[in-house]
């Protein structure tokens, strides 16, 4: 399946990306161009490989024992799977937000946000303070926590914890933000807040969001990729994909004829 329409610059491109565990193949050759400064949704039924896909983009997938990856993934034209590439440096350019909020339990809100900086050697308090406020604002959390930055990260509600994790990811100034069903553990109000902030973030970041919620994709995403059984079935502007899908599988999924 080819990648979609032209007219945007490509931030991330995968060519023939295959991934699996042991003998079992999860992704079967994905060719996809992710547009820069846009929100791309990755959608599909359970087991289609969407989570594995984004975990390949920040080289997290290979850390599971037995995991295999093949193919090419170009970030700004450079292959992140080059044998000389440093996964740690690559991961600093890509942020990730997980399905269940996972703030570091032994750290305060402040230290959670700046963890990516302080644990990488940044000591200057002014820089850390600035990064903390900046990222918390970007995550729409600053006003709620600015007076209690020393409180434990775990003292926040679920939705706030997830925004904290977003702030933590933003603090290292990534170029790409990967989000793995970030709202699936949250209530509708919290979800709405996160969708709003994500929409605001795209002017500075390239965002890829895995979701099983079609309404969320249509609300938030500029482009949508539909995966099924490890293959990319269709990729298009969200509106066009939903209203006028080119592939039959896509149409069946959208109209709820399966998972």
């Amino acid at each position: 399946m080819e990648s979609g329409p032209q007219g945007y610059s490509t931030k991330f491109e995968t060519i023939g990306l295959k991934a699996g565990f042991g003998g079992h193949m999860v992704l079967d050759g994905i060719d996809l161009r992710i547009p820069q400064n846009r929100i791309t949704a990755v959608m599909g039924p359970s087991g289609c490989g969407k989570t594995t896909f984004i975990r390949c983009l920040n080289r997290l997938h290979e850390l599971t024992p037995g995991a295999t990856v093949e193919g090419v993934a170009l970030l700004d034209g450079e292959n992140i799977y080059d044998k000389n590439a440093d996964p740690v440096a690559i991961r600093r350019r890509i942020g990730m937000v997980f399905q269940k909020p996972n703030p570091f339990p032994t750290m305060s809100i402040y230290h959670n946000v700046v963890a990516g900086l302080s644990l990488n050697g940044v000591r200057d308090k002014k820089i850390l303070d600035h990064a903390a406020e900046h990222s918390l604002r970007g995550a729409y959390l600053w006003d709620e926590v600015k007076d209690k930055l020393a409180n434990s990260g775990a003292s926040l509600s679920g939705g706030q914890q997830q925004r904290l994790c977003i702030a933590r990811a933003l603090a290292v100034e990534p170029e790409v933000l990967l989000m793995d069903e970030p709202c699936s553990a949250l209530d509708p109000t919290a979800t709405a807040k996160i969708e709003e902030l994500v929409t605001n973030l795209k002017k500075d970041y390239t965002i890829i969001i895995v979701t099983h919620n079609m309404q969320q994709a249509s609300r938030v995403a500029d482009y949508t990729a539909f995966f099924y059984l490890g293959k990319l079935i269709e990729f298009d502007e969200t509106a066009r994909l939903f209203e006028n899908p080119k592939e039959e599988l896509t149409e069946r999924y959208i109209t709820g004829k399966f998972g």
């Binding site: 690559i90 990488n120 100034e173």
Partner: protein, 324 residues
């Protein structure tokens, strides 16, 4: 891009160059610790074999069945100690298992309604495990032994003395007292492991039996215990393993004379006790080698027992989400 905080996190905005330094150092350090454990155990085994080799060669397999332990005439045989270890351990199980199991059943089945009480009780039993062996020995020597001699052994000897097990004149420092002390010491082990096993029995088993109209005891006996059978067997053997290795408490109350006899009120000796008493006095190489061989036998016994116990417990609990 918004105003950057000015940090250059990557040397270039590129894919970096593979640096493994920190990861390799950490992995190397902790792996060496793991290697140290392996080396330690191998060295342990090797040294024990090397330093008992004189005895192994001199006596061969007859060491295990030799009944004479005579350092003066350089004749050594391990049977009296094997006998003592096994006898005291079995005694300990006979007494300690029912009690430990009873405590476990209480905590798992009967204390459900009164959490605080069960918790306190469980803590008290666990504290038994916190008392060091030498203090059990001290208490056994000065308190338990005289009491057992006066109130248990003497009457049993006087009235049932025709029975071989009560035939010796009761002295208080004998197999019997050692067995009782060991029993007390293994109660926490047996009860803690059994309790975990009983808690792992699914409630559906109990409910099925209750709905058939069973009394609580019937539920325990017919629905819970059979399910937990191999696990409890395993707990028993773990307790046995603990008893076999006990040194101080035993040596202070058992009399320390190598003897094989049917009488529980006779003084005796165990594998661990003879090493503790005689090792620093061993004045010539064969003597030391014989004692090291005793240590080897002791280790072999403890290892076999513990492996067996783990196997049994694993077999029972592998279908449940559970860790001992």
């Amino acid at each position: 891009m918004e105003e950057s905080s000015g940090i250059q996190l990557t040397s270039a905005k590129g894919i970096g160059r593979r640096r493994r330094g920190g990861d390799q150092i950490l992995k190397g350090l902790v792996a060496s610790a793991a290697i140290a454990v392996v080396i330690l155990l191998l060295a342990l085994g090797a040294e024990l074999i090397i330093h008992s080799s004189l005895s192994l060669i001199t006596f061969g397999p007859s060491f295990l069945i030799g009944t004479t332990w005579d350092p003066v005439h350089q004749i050594f045989g391990a049977l009296p100690f094997l006998f003592g270890t096994i006898l005291t351990s079995i005694l300990a199980l006979l007494i300690g298992l029912p009690i430990g199991l009873g405590v476990a059943i209480f905590l798992a089945e009967k204390a459900k309604g009164r959490r605080m009480f069960g918790y306190t009780l469980g803590t008290l039993v666990e504290l038994l495990a916190a008392v060091p062996s030498v203090i059990y020995g001290l208490w056994g020597l000065f308190f338990l032994s005289p009491i057992l001699r006066t109130y248990v052994e003497t009457p049993l000897h006087n009235y049932l003395g025709i029975l071989p097990i009560f035939a010796s004149a009761p002295f208080g420092l004998d197999f019997f007292t050692a067995g009782v002390i060991l029993a007390i010491m293994i109660i926490p082990t047996v009860s803690a492991v059994s309790r975990d096993i009983l808690n792992a029995v699914p409630n559906s088993q109990r409910e099925a039996m209750y709905s058939l109209g069973g009394t609580h005891w019937e539920v325990i006996r017919k629905a819970v215990l059979p399910y937990a059978r191999s696990g409890i067997f395993g707990a028993t053997i773990l307790g046995l393993g603990r008893a076999v290795g006990e040194t101080m408490a035993v040596t202070m109350v058992i009399g320390n004379t190598p003897r094989i006899t049917a009488s529980l009120f006779s003084g005796g000796y165990t594998l661990a006790a003879v090493i503790a008493n005689e090792f620093t006095e061993a004045s010539y190489p064969l003597y030391t080698a014989a004692l090291v061989e005793i240590g080897l036998i002791l280790f072999g016994l403890a290892l076999t027992i513990n492996l067996l116990a783990r196997l049994l417990i694993w077999r029972m609990t592998r279908n449940t989400r559970f860790r001992v």
